[in-house]
């Protein structure tokens, strides 16, 4: 059983200031599907810390594309919806092509806090790990509904049993990768099962990883956009099939 190292400081720790060389070589990948109402504010917030924001518009039917083009540094457009996993991999491929040294994945619905980006980067910069995974259960999850908490805890247990990796939060969209890690982890699960797949790849590649406390803000908007608890069964099915045949 692989156990994730976890930072012990609380999520409220002071934001670590990043050297400009790190800021300039960090790319934040934001997968977005019909995120018009939240996207502009999310990009603006990220760009206060990191200038390179790559939005992958995953076949949205609303104004996500135009907002991304106006606000983000780079906008990539999936002509048809391919799922969050596919969008993240597209963003990572692009960031690597642009010479990214560090890559962050960040949800477009406004549930993540930009202050957590330096916290995620810090253990990678210190050479402690290649991948930092955000954990709302080590940090803070504001307004987390009980059913969602249960589903997330079931996912943690599932990851522990099936992947043999001990995590406190298996499905957090906020992650940081070193270039080496981003090159090694290729996401093949196009839809939501990519989170479990990433854990698999971490185990297969032997990359060092660490959980970092982060804050998640649950709002009516992010809850409406998030996966339904029933969707969890579909994720498990896709993940298990992928595990068997890939």
């Amino acid at each position: 059983m692989i156990r994730a190292a976890a930072t012990t400081e609380p999520a409220e720790a002071d934001v670590v200031s990043l050297p400009s060389s790190v800021r300039d070589s960090t790319f934040v990948v934001v997968p977005a599907f019909n995120e018009g109402p939240a996207l502009g504010a999310v990009i603006r917030e990220i760009r206060t810390i990191i200038p390179n924001v790559v939005v992958v518009n995953d076949g949205s039917r609303d104004d996500t594309g135009s907002i991304a083009r106006r606000c983000a540094t780079y906008t990539l457009t999936h002509l048809i919806n391919r799922g969050q996993g596919a969008a993240i991999q597209t963003g990572i491929d692009f960031a690597l092509l642009k010479g990214a040294a560090y890559i962050i994945t960040f949800d477009a619905d406004g549930q993540h806090c930009v202050e957590d980006i330096p916290r995620l980067l810090r253990p990678i910069l210190d050479g402690e790990c290649d991948i930092a995974i955000g954990s709302r259960f080590l940090g803070e999850a504001t307004n987390l509904p009980r059913t969602r908490r249960l589903v997330l805890q079931a996912a943690v247990l599932f990851t522990r049993v099936v992947n043999g990796v001990r995590l406190t939060d298996a499905h957090n969209g906020l992650r940081a990768f070193s270039r080496r890690a981003a090159e090694k982890i290729h996401i093949r699960q196009d839809r939501m099962a990519h989170a479990s797949e990433i854990i698999d790849r971490i185990k297969e590649t032997g990359l060092a990883f660490k959980e970092v406390p982060v804050r998640i803000r649950y709002t009516d908007y992010s809850m409406a956009k998030g996966q339904s608890s029933r969707g969890a069964f579909r994720i498990v099915f896709h993940y298990l099939v992928g595990k068997m045949v890939d």
Binding site: A72, Y74, T90, R188, D190, V241
Partner: protein, 129 residues
């Protein structure tokens, strides 16, 4: 073999036409030889089972199944499941290829705000306003 019933004539007629179609498709390269062989064999076996129903009963008894109809049901279920799985896997493969294509186009046509007329910063101020 006694006189054929109307049902047997219709079924064997349809299977015969299907068999010819499969053979022609295999020869002309519209389908792979392997697919043509599998479908041809299936048509042949179905036609034999229609013309000689006792054969399936005999085979069922050899396998300790009471009735030929039961044997056909079991075989049909297994074949259906194999069919579903094969179709699912092909669909999965196609989806993956589609994703690669969509990804390739997305990266090729990436919009870079710094190279467009309006800078991202200017656009962001507009967005705030």
């Amino acid at each position: 073999m006694g006189t054929l019933t109307l049902f047997q004539i219709i079924v064997v007629g349809v299977l015969g036409m299907l068999f010819i179609g499969v053979v022609v498709a295999g020869i002309r390269g519209w389908s792979t030889r392997r697919e043509a062989f599998l479908w041809g064999t299936l048509c042949f076996v179905a036609a034999v089972a229609t013309l000689r129903p006792n054969l399936t009963t005999d085979l069922a008894k050899m396998l300790s199944i009471n009735r030929g109809a039961d044997l056909i049901t079991y075989v049909a279920i297994i074949m259906m499941m194999i069919g579903f799985w094969t179709t699912y896997m092909r669909l999965r493969h196609l989806r993956r290829e589609l994703t690669s294509l969509v990804r390739h186009i997305a990266i090729l046509e990436a919009h870079d705000a710094s190279s467009s007329d309006a800078t991202a910063d200017h656009a962001m101020s507009e967005e705030r306003a």
